[in-house]
């Protein structure tokens, strides 16, 4: 059982880390409290369902199409719906939540309310210390690690990444150095949606792809960002591991129906008792 907890905990942590890092960038750099972040996850899953199952495209093409389409939707949403609110934080919160509900309804109209199955990307199982694990779940961990490493290299090693860090530190100083913060904001929207969509695609074969699937990943991503503390990718990864493993332990030890309660309890208690999280600072306001 210990091995199982380790394996399934890692899978959950990997998915949560992808969601939370994107959200952390969105809040910290684009300064958008995005309650529609889970929507990108849901749209990614439906995108790969459309590409791979309905249009019968090769898997890699469906993946690439889905993440870029979701990235473009995020950029368009920022342009059309968020920019006119001119940084009014409460209006942004409500607007993004309403947009999330709107997308749920649109998807429900197109694909119906029932879950749509997505086939496994890789068949087969691997025996690890006597536990047979589907390759699909191992693929999640591998892809998540690769994507997060790639993102880190992009931010740490490229000029554009430097511009992102500059905007994160001080938007005005960055603007004086010639960084176009509007374009950085759009880039961040694209990257965050890309990460969330990739997470949604990876889990779509073993979690059901349904119109309401955006809500709990959203709650968990916010739990992680707040628990980890803003402005720290490592804080987010650490918090993702904490949440992923505590949920897995609770679901193995008590009941899998309580996992959502774990995230909710952590979220409520951290906000009330330690709003600055484990490492880092308070979000917004």
């Amino acid at each position: 059982m210990l091995t199982e907890i380790l394996i399934y905990g890692s899978v959950a942590s990997a998915v949560y880390a992808m969601l939370a890092i994107g959200l952390s960038l969105m809040i910290g750099i684009a300064r958008v409290m995005n309650l529609a972040h889970g929507t990108f996850y849901m749209l990614g899953a439906y995108g790969v369902f459309t590409g791979a199952v309905l249009l019968k495209l090769p898997l890699s093409a469906a993946f690439a199409l889905s993440v870029s389409a979701v990235g473009c939707i995020a950029v368009a949403l920022n342009r059309v719906c968020l920019r006119p609110l001119k940084g009014n934080l409460d209006a942004m919160l409500v607007m993004t939540l309403i947009l999330a509900l709107m997308f749920e309804e649109v998807i429900q109209l197109i694909f119906g309310p029932r879950p749509r199955p997505v086939p496994y990307f890789v068949e087969g199982r691997l025996l690890i210390f006597g536990v047979s694990v589907p390759d699909q779940r191992l693929l999640v961990v591998a892809v998540a690690a690769a994507v997060i490493l790639g993102l880190w290299l992009f931010i740490a090693r490229t000029r554009v990444g430097g511009a992102i860090l500059a905007v994160a530190q001080d938007p005005e100083a960055a603007a004086l150095m010639g960084v176009d913060s509007g374009r950085i904001t759009l880039l961040i929207h694209f990257l965050a949606a890309f990460l969330a969509a990739a997470a949604g695609i990876l889990v779509s074969p073993f979690l059901s792809t349904s119109p309401g699937m955006w809500l709990w990943p959203l709650v968990k991503a916010f739990t992680i960002v707040i628990l980890g503390g803003l402005g720290s990718i490592w804080g987010s990864i650490l918090a993702a591991v904490i949440l992923g493993f505590s949920e897995t332990i609770v679901s193995f030890a008590i009941s899998s129906r309580l996992t959502e309660l774990v995230a909710l309890a952590i979220l409520f208690l951290v906000i009330i008792l330690r709003p600055s999280g484990l490492m880092g600072s308070r979000v917004g306001n």
Binding site: C81, D90, L93, M102, E105, F222, A265, L267
Partner: protein
Amino acid sequence: MPIGQARTLRDHLPGLLGLGALLLLPAVVSDPYVWGILVMANLYAFLAAGFDILLGYAGLPVIGYGLFVGVGAYLAALLNLSLGLPPWLTIPLGGLGGALFGLLLGLSCLRLKGLYLALASFAAAAICEKVVIVFYDLTNGHEGLSGLDPISSYPLLDYYLSLLVMAAGTTALLMVVRSKVGLVLNSIKDNQEAAEAVGIDTTRYKLLAFVLASFLGGVGGGFLGHYTMHVGPNMFGLHIALTIIMIAIVGGLGTITGSIGASYLLIILNEALREVGEARLLIYTVITVVIMLALPKGVMPPLMNLLHRGLRLLRLRRRDNWEGGLRDASDT
């Protein structure tokens, strides 16, 4: 509208006209099915007005407003089903239960605003929803409780009772926000530190906003439960809370009366589009997004402006001096 200024009949005219129209509505429309829809319009107007106190006046985005609706509904249902108390007793008690939860949530979230308050209130509502499902013996889990006593056995009486509750609730709220309290809440929204610096006990006023809004939420939940004769865990959830929030936004935050207009507007629109298919939330969300972008103050303030202008053109031209101009400027 400046606070403390003596009100003339003219200032109350739009409200009285509206109330008169709603009182006479059943004389025009004699279909009990339509009355049922109007009951829901009244209830959602009442609930949205309660939410308006939080976001529109005090600037508190309590996305978990469903917490109060759910608590009121379940308390009313349990009191009615197990103790046999009648609706006219269980609904106010449901309101008190909601207010208690509002006080508790307000106390634990006193230092929070913005994103943190939104998430904490959402988490509180979702935790209660899960707890309700877990305590299966008492609450019947996902199925919820059925067989509550109806409000009355006459559709027309239901309509008038819901209208009474809605009119009483919104009038009480209007009296509160047009007193000093409204000003103080607005000052907290604009700048809490500045409000504290001039000696305002912001804690007390924020808690007052929480208690008022959650009392309305509880009463609305109890009424809803008795009217539909069913309560379920989804009453705590995001869909009902967001419907309420959208009505408050479409009507115009910080107006109270806007919620009434928006509730009737959206519910009638929804019925008119029923043939297109059951896409109520899609219609609501699209309209709300468009309104937020095109009319950030909601539909009510521009409408009231037009109405005032029309009234002045009609026959009150004599009173159209600098004072009237000043009033209109503060209305917008």
